[in-house]
């Protein structure tokens, strides 16, 4: 495997890791919310997102 291929794999792994973290920490969900609501990222849109998203999240049990 040459250096270029290795770099490609490392970059791809880093991108997946970043995507996992964005999903776990709800940043991806916020982006999707902005996409389907047509709102711009601001306090009001984040408050609206939290209102919708955290209400559902708070109903989910945390695993033991």
């Amino acid at each position: 495997m040459n250096r270029r291929t290795v770099w490609k794999h490392v970059k791809s792994a880093a991108l997946i890791l970043a995507a996992i973290l964005r999903e776990i920490f709800d940043e991806a969900a916020y982006s999707r919310f902005l996409g389907h609501s047509g709102m711009a990222p601001c306090r009001a849109s984040y408050a609206a997102f939290q209102c919708e998203h955290t209400a559902a999240k708070a109903r989910r049990p945390k695993c033991c």
């Binding site: 997946i16 996992i20 973290l21 601001c42 984040y46 408050a47 919708e52 708070a58």
Partner: protein
Amino acid sequence: MPKALRAVIWLVVAGGGALAVATIALHRGEQINAMWLVVAAVCVYAVGYRFYSKFIAAKMLVLDPQRATPAERLENGRDFVPTNKWVVFGHHFAAIAGPGPLVGPVLAAQFGYLPGTLWILSGAVLGGCVQDFVILLFSVRRDGKSLTEMAREEVGRVGGLVAYAAIISIIVILLGVCALVVVNALKASPWGTFTIAMTIPIALLMGIYLRRIRPGKVLETSVLGFVLVLLAIVGGQWVSQSARVGGWFTFSATTLAVLIITYGFAASALPVWLLLAPRDYLSTFVKLGTIALLAGGIVALRPVLHMPPLTRFVDGSGPIFAGKIFPFAFITIACGAISGFHALISSGTTPKLIRREAETRMVGYGAMMCESMVAIMATIAACVLQPGTYFAINSPAGIVGAAPEAASSAISAWGFPVSAAEMHALAQAVGEQTLFNRTGGAPAFAVGMAHIFANSLGGQALMAIWYHFAIMFEALFILTVLDAGTRVGRFMIQDALGHVWKPLGRTSWYPSVLATSALIVAGWGYFLWQGVKDPLGGINSLWPLFGIANQLLATVALCVATTIVVKMGRARYAFVTLAPLIWLVTVTFTASYQKVFSENPRIGFLSHARQLVAAGANPRLIFNDRLDAAVTAVLIFMVGLVLLESVWVWARVLAGKKEAQVQEAPFVATRFAEEQI
């Protein structure tokens, strides 16, 4: 890769696993290196995933690469979102990883490292991973329906009702036990209490920062919160050394219990964005980082296990909890081997994110293997301690005595030498006043983890910092489960009461919010109070109760899974879910019978109550024992009903008296069919 080479590689993996398991199981007289456990686990998981999960996917579940998942069919950009399999895997693992796989294996180490390790490996590969995988797939095929909905539709009304009642019960017992673990970790510990107390304003600050200053920047906010928590740990050392300030944060177990109950109530009633959500983010951030750090520390240090493979307590006379390996090791370690709670996650958010049916194997089976690996790491953290130290930390004052000299003598007399001076030096090294009688598993895990970290990163000078980092990690983890669980329990009660009188079901109506919050907090608060007042430390009674409740939920999940398999016409492969089901029924029913009726007062709730009556003890303690017996009996009765209803359905379907009709969503072809899995 050529087929022959693949076969050779898998033979090497299987051979390596067999050698490692044999070394763990058969080595006697000399200490072994923890890496044997790591190698055994990695090889067993690899073989289990490659062969067993593939067999289940191909033969029993017949995963269909052409079938669209609800994430694709019902895509709405909110709940239903087709997501990259690695992202779903990470998300699912973060959701199932809780404090259970850290605490259970530490407690079960009283039998030695062997029983717990073998149960974690076999339980996960043949039971826990199977349950998570199968329930995830069945939920995917039913538009992401929950376990209770599937139980009602596939098994019957009793199944649905019992699943609901079991979830409420397990939440109440779980929260009581979790709170007890925190209380035992923080009592008389100003450093630990200060650090944990600081996480509350830090979470509030994060909530405001996220809402007002940097909306949506959760990762950035979590990093900021983490830095503040690290500062709180360092500041805690100063607090513990200050006679005046230290006094403000030095609490007895009862005071801490009252504070935690108050906190649980407040957290349930405060807006989610202000406390619960940021605390959840912070906890997840610390959790993922610490698990990775612990894995790295174990591989870097390759510590020796000082605990023998089997201790004298296999006879059931253990000081941490009474009872023999069978059935008690199997209910003490639930998460990490098989946990019913995972069935709730596998039928919650995850099925709504799965892009292809085939990915349920990697997400369901694979994430549980990682959770099981965390349990192996917890076993290692407990077993790197000298056995005398381990028992000194975990044995309650009611068994070994409260005075250091008396406790040391009692533990040394069991064949695990330890002195009061050694324990004092260790307590000094980790910045605690004492480490005797710190039941609950968290302090022992923290000492083991600090030992691993200090010897691989930073040296002995950082032992106290690492210990309090570990305590913070566990307590933060547990308090997140506590506040989220209280709120979930509140919603469930409100949903039920809403059928009686509509306003009670409204989550925005404050009288209902306060009343139901009080109800759920009173439920787990009672168990917490009972544990705090128990002269045997509470864990002896409550952890088995929690283990039984959790495994009974797994029994319900496996009943649902087996029923669906039978209805699918795949009864010849039903042994896949039936085998762990039979094992769990045997274990939980035996454990429940012993916990209620055993003549040994250290095991049986009723015989203990009789002993207390004879001694003229406090009526409250007698009532507690009878209550625990009643709770156990009710749980077993309810699950017995589900079991009977399931067997009835299987018999009728197999005899051709009932139509074998599953309640799956109709087939729709996927647009992702051409993509490589």
